[in-house]
Each structure stands twice: as C-alpha cells, then as structure tokens.
C-alpha cells in the first residue's frame, strides 16, 4: 500500500469517525450480485406488454389506467422506492425490485407477477425499471449494503407490551392512531414526494400491508422507511434491534386476517339487544367481513372508493333483530352506510344488486353521520322513493378511528318489508360512502348479495340421529360381545 493511500485512509477514518458514532447500529451485509444480465430488448418488450398500462410508456407512472387507481402507479424516473432492504434514502437492491415485481404490493392494484412471468422475465423487468432512472442514480450510487433482518424473536405478551409502550413513546400513534386505524392527529393532509395525497396505513388490515404483514416485513418497513413518503425510518429513534422487534410484534398484534362469509349469522339472545355498540353481547356475537368494491357499473362510476370492507355482527331476540356495522375511517368526515334488502323475498330470485330493478324493488336503510336514519324503496338507481322509517331505528357514532352503527327492526314484517324468522335466509347487500372522499349518490363502495340468517338455537331433533346411531351401535356391540363370550366359554 502506498503512503498516499494510507494518508487518505487515515483522513477518511478521521472524518468518518464522528459520523459512524452517530450512525445507527444496524447490521448490514454486502448486496448479492444480480444473477441475470440485462437484455434491454427483452426487458422493453416485457415492460410494454405488462407494465405500460399503469407505469406509462416512459416509466412516469402515467399509463392509461393511472387515473383510475389509488395509490397511483409509481413514477420510476425519480428512482424512489418504498419496499427495500437498504437504509433510508438509499436505492433498492436488484433483489428488492425483483421481490416487489414477484410479490406485488397487497392492497394496491400492483399485482404479484410471479404467477404469470418466469424468473428470467422478472429479472429483465428489474433492469428495465432501473433504465427509467432519469438522474442516473443507479449508476452513480447503487446500494452496496443491505440491512440484515435476522430471525424474529419469539412473540410473547411481554414483547407485545413493550412494543405497545414504544408505540406511545415514539409517537407512531400521531399518524397511525391509538388503535392503529390510521386516524392519528397528524394523519390528515399528508402528501408524498410526488405530490399526491397519502394516508398512514391502517394496522388492523394486515392484508393491505404493501411490504407484507409478517413480523419480519413490518420490522423491515420501519427500519428502512418508505422512501418518498412521510413514513420515516426509525433506526435513529429506536436504535436497539430488540426494541424494533417489540414494536413489530405489537403492530402485528393489531392486525387480523379478513374473515369473509356468505352468511351473516344472527345469534339468539334472551334479554334486550344492547344499544351500546361496545357491549359484551356484541363482542361475543362474532363477526363477518364483507369486501366492497367501487361502484364502476353505472354512471357516475367510482373507481377510488375509500373503503374496501365492512364488518358486520347481528343479534336477535323474540321481538327484534339488530345489526352492528363497523368500518374504520382515518377521517371522520360524514360517512353513510346502507343496508339493502328485497322488499319481497322470492326464493332464489333477487332484485338487481345495485338498488333493485323494476320487477323487484329493494328496501334501503341508510344511516348518515350527519342526517341520521333515512329509508327508501328503490326499483333502480334512478327510481328511489323515500319512505317513513316505520319501526326501524338506528344509532351510531365515531370513536377511535371507527364507525359503529346499530340498525334494528322488529322481526315481524310490516307493509312492504321482509319478515325475519329463525332459520330463514334473507338476502342483504351493503353500501358504504366516505364523506371526506366526496362520495355521494352512486359514488360508493358496494357489495353483491349475501344472506342474513337469524340462526335458530340447535334444535333437539338434531341429536336424534347421532344419539340413535351411537346407542344402536353400542347395543349391537354388547349383544355380540355377550354372545361371543358365552360361546367361547362353552368351547373351552
């Protein structure tokens, strides 16, 4: 080694020293080499076929579909990427891009391409995405080190409790909300680096975590941060890895998988159905999730609904039935929920799922955060007739980033409404509107038909066959055993 080199090294060490003292203690390892060399022609061809519609011909995120999805497809020209294993502000590794292209981004329109493209094709797309980098950053300062994630510690209640403390201390709640529903005081009005509105993630919806919802993924997300968004890296604020694992375990504990069902089963209770949506009885009632989609079938079409799911519970007693509808909302706004039922059940046949049709009208119960309960009969989107609420009642409110609304009605049907009876399936559909997202009229999120069932207590007759067959078998066995024992004794 020449002496000038030594000098340079010593100087570098001198300047680097104070820096590295501040630098967070994140173990890193060298980036692995890229296994497949670029074939620009193949990359371009694949990109044109599979990616332009969203990311645009020049990678600017302005393809023909871009206006119709939230979040918007990424503009690659600035080379800013969210899901990475590199430190905050750095470029992703080729493996990171390969991972994203393969797995997609859950909760967005960006699909998982591993189902449709070979590994080699996906590597070509990695090279193509990098080729759009207009500032030449991938050439100048490619990522050399990646964060070592390591193995997640065992998740214990103590670890989660520690994570909960850190969640308070490090102010994650300012954006993500006390209960993780994306409703913190700083959640409103944020923009990302590209100038588009952005909202903090709702931690209860694990299936929408773009970086993945395993503990390792969550740990990686706030260790590296999402570049280009208000979601920072927390390596400086939370330097100890075990603290970050605790936080990851806590965030994970807030999320739950989606629980879809075809039938909303109302359980039978003997006393009154509680008016308080936070009452124990409701907690015990069990819930079902009903996924919602934008109403993109009739004009005005609504491509970017705020809500993607509604959660429902139901209870009934001898007089009435009640539904508890819940949905998370980071912005309180003036939301409206609607429950749609046929005016007359007709076996298999149902009204058209969007506000009925001329032959088969629907009964719509609407609760609006500002105007309260209204009710209408509709035989098509354009033919809605308001009607008196009758003996339908509603109460609802907003708390901790979540709306809860109870709708209740006597079991017995009056004029122009279905009757509920134990064991009888009644078609229902859901519609949800977010006031802050400008949703009104046909601009809404909706579902197709499901069923509501007042579930009868298990009838005694249900025991007939199991007990009958069981005892019959036992009797037969005893008879046989007796016979065989006597004949064996006789033989002896």
């Amino acid at each position: 080694m020449r002496s000038t080199d030594l000098l340079a090294l010593a100087l570098a060490a001198l300047f680097a020293a104070p820096l590295s003292a501040d630098a967070p203690q994140v173990p890193t390892e060298p980036v692995k080499p890229t296994p497949v060399a670029a074939d620009p022609e193949a990359g371009r061809r694949l990109y044109d076929r599979y990616c332009t519609q969203c990311h645009g011909a020049e990678g600017k995120g302005d393809g023909p579909a871009a206006e119709f999805v939230y979040p918007r497809p990424r503009d690659f020209t600035l080379a800013i990427f969210k899901v990475r294993t590199t430190l905050s502000g750095q470029l992703p590794t080729d493996q990171d891009l390969f991972h994203i292209i393969s797995e997609g981004l859950p909760g967005t329109s960006m699909p998982a391409w591993k189902k449709f493209l070979t590994e080699n094709e996906r590597w070509q797309l990695v090279h193509q995405v990098k080729a759009f980098d207009s500032l030449g950053l991938f050439n100048e300062e490619p990522a050399k080190e990646r964060v070592v994630i390591g193995a997640a510690p065992e998740v214990t209640p103590a670890l989660i409790a520690k994570g909960k403390e850190l969640y308070q201390q490090k102010k994650c709640w300012q954006c993500h909300g006390q209960y993780g529903r994306g409703d913190g005081p700083s959640a409103q009005g944020m923009k990302d680096e590209w100038g588009f509105p952005i909202r903090p993630v709702n931690f209860t919806k694990g299936w929408r975590f773009r970086g993945g919802d395993r503990i390792e993924d969550i740990y990686r997300t706030f260790t590296t941060g999402f570049n280009g968004t208000p979601m920072p890296s927390f390596v400086d604020a939370i330097p100890a890895a075990e603290d970050r694992w605790a936080l990851a375990a806590f965030v994970k504990s807030l999320s739950r998988p989606q629980k879809n069902a075809q039938v909303l089963k109302a359980g039978h209770i003997t006393g009154e159905i509680p008016a308080d949506p936070y009452a124990m009885e409701w907690e015990q009632a069990g819930f079902a999730d009903f996924p919602l989609a934008g109403q993109i079938i009739k004009e005005p079409r609504w491509f970017k609904p705020a809500h993607d799911v509604i959660t429902a519970r139901a209870l009934y007693n001898d007089k009435e039935i009640a539904l508890l509808l819940e949905w998370d909302d980071g912005t309180q706004g003036a939301d409206q929920v609607a429950l749609q039922l046929p005016v007359q059940p007709a076996g298999n046949e149902k009204p058209y799922f969007i506000l009925g049709d001329e032959r088969r009208p629907v009964d719509i119960w609407r609760w609006n955060a500002q105007t309260g309960l209204t009710r209408a009969t509709a035989s098509g989107a354009a033919r809605q007739t308001p009607r008196g609420a009758g003996n339908l009642s509603a109460q609802g409110g907003y708390r901790d980033g979540q709306y809860r609304v109870i709708l209740r009605r006597p079991l017995k049907g009056g004029e122009g409404e279905v009757a509920f009876e134990p064991g009888g399936f009644v078609p229902i559909a859901f519609q949800l509107q977010d006031g802050d997202n400008g949703e009104e009229g046909l601009k809404m999120a909706l579902s197709t038909w499901y069923y509501l069932l007042p579930q009868p207590p298990m009838p005694l007759s249900a025991w007939f066959w199991p007990l009958g067959i069981g005892f019959l078998a036992l009797g037969g066995e005893l008879w046989l055993a007796r016979r065989m024992r006597t004949s064996a004794r006789r033989a002896a």
């Binding site: 579909a65 046949e349 249900a462 036992l474």
Partner: protein
C-alpha cells in the same frame, strides 16, 4: 409374522387412501366423489381380506379377542366405546344443520338469445363477426392496442391486470369475474357470444344465469360498438387465447 397385523394394515391402508385422495389431489375433489372412492376402497379392502380364509381369520383375530374379552381391558373399552362415538359423530356431521348459504344453481354459459338490442338496434347473434379482426397484422395490432387501453380503463379492476379474473375489486363480487386465461371461458366461446355478453352484461343474462347477481356491467351503456370489439380483440390477445370459430369448409368446430 405379518398376519398378526392384518387388521391394522388394512386400517392403515384405508387411512392412507383417504389422506392421499384428500390432500395430494389438486384441485380437491367434491365430497360426494370422495365418498364414492372411499366406499369402493372399503369394499376392495374387505374383498381382498375375505378372499383368503387364513387372512380373514387373521383380520378378525384382534376384534375377536376384544369381543371375547381376552384383550386388555383398556383395548376393550377403547373399541366398544370408540365405535359408537365415531358413528355418532359421523351422523352428527351429516345431519346437524350447518346454516350454510342456500345452494344457488347458476348456468355459466347460457344459450344466447337469437337477437338482442344494441343502442336501440336489433342485432342477430348468429351472424355477428368481429369487424376489426382484420387479416392485415398492422391494422389488427393497432386495434388490439386500442383495445388494451379500453381494457385498462374499464375492465381490469375486475378481470385483473393479467386477465386472470383477480382484479383489485374481484373479491367483492360473487360470482367472481371471469378468468380469461382459463380454458373454460373466452377460449371456448365464439366472438359473437362474447360480444353479446359484453354488450348486455349481467342484466342481459337469462334467468337461469342469475342476472341479478352478476357485477358484469352493461357495456353498451358505456362504450361504443367499435370499442367493445376492440376490447374483445385485446382480451383474446392479452390472455394468449383465440376465439372458437366455425370452420365452414370442414364443417366442424375448431379452436
């Protein structure tokens, strides 16, 4: 001496067949088919066992020792109590109410009507041909690309980026949007049928195909006739399939 284990081997074989049919075969077979296979397997095993007198006696020996009271007490209780419990439990599974949604039969590809209304005109379904499926590859490619734009501004939310019926709105709908990559959808349909479906959507279906449930929009309310044909060009090209055609000279259908 293997003979001592005949009964256990038979039971193990039976369980192995059950596990194989249940977990190794994809897609999973319906319960009724599984039931048939298992009944056949049971009969097969019993026949095999009974075919040889010595084997049959070996098979029965453990049962005999239980019923004659020679087996250890624990084994006697296990068998005598276990069999009725198992049978009772089986009966419970079959007869107890599960409160599942009522079964709703739905014809996926109904007979198309002989004619339908398009923008106020009457269209004969039988004579429909895609006017844009031109022999000139340059023209064809241009229309297909235009169809791609139409697809990504109108259809992909439901039918998916890769045309696999898995768009980001797909799981809110039941029935789910058609998967154009599946051999059971557009690749087995004539373009005339597809045009009818796209133009008249879910509400255009006959009663047996549950028009009230399908989220498929009535595209003639939102697109021009030419735009629909372009979108159809693209769903075939994009999914790598070709429409079913009627080969007039040979007189039979081909793909």
């Amino acid at each position: 001496m293997m003979a001592r284990y005949t009964l256990y081997l038979a039971v193990a074989l039976w369980l192995a067949i059950l596990a194989g049919l249940k977990y190794l075969i994809h897609p999973p077979m319906p319960a009724s088919v599984l039931m048939i296979y298992m009944t056949l397997s049971t009969l097969g095993i019993l026949l095999f066992v009974a075919a040889d007198e010595a084997r049959f006696q070996a098979f029965l020996a453990p049962l005999k020792s239980v019923f004659e009271g020679r087996a250890p007490l624990a084994a006697q209780v296990l068998v005598l109590a276990g069999i009725p419990l198992l049978l009772g439990w089986g009966a419970w599974l079959r007869t107890a109410p599960t409160w599942d949604a009522p079964f709703e039969p739905r014809v996926v590809h109904p007979e198309p009507p002989s004619s339908f209304s398009l923008h106020g005109r009457r269209i004969e379904t039988a004579n429909l041909k895609n006017p844009l499926r031109l022999p000139d590859p340059v023209q064809l490619e241009k229309y297909t690309q235009e169809g791609k734009t139409i697809y990504y501004q109108n259809c992909f939310f439901c039918h998916g980026d890769a045309l696999a019926g898995d768009g980001h709105f797909a799981n809110a709908f039941s029935p789910i949007p058609a998967n154009f990559r599946d051999v059971g959808t557009i690749s087995m349909l004539q373009e005339s049928f597809v045009f009818w479906r796209v133009a008249t959507g879910g509400p255009g279906l006959p009663k047996g195909a549950t028009p009230w449930l399908s989220a498929m929009p009535v595209w003639q309310n939102l697109l021009t006739e030419e735009e629909i044909w372009k979108a159809i060009l693209y769903i075939y090209a994009g999914s790598g399939s070709t429409p079913r055609t009627w080969d007039e000279e040979a007189g039979h259908e081909k793909h």
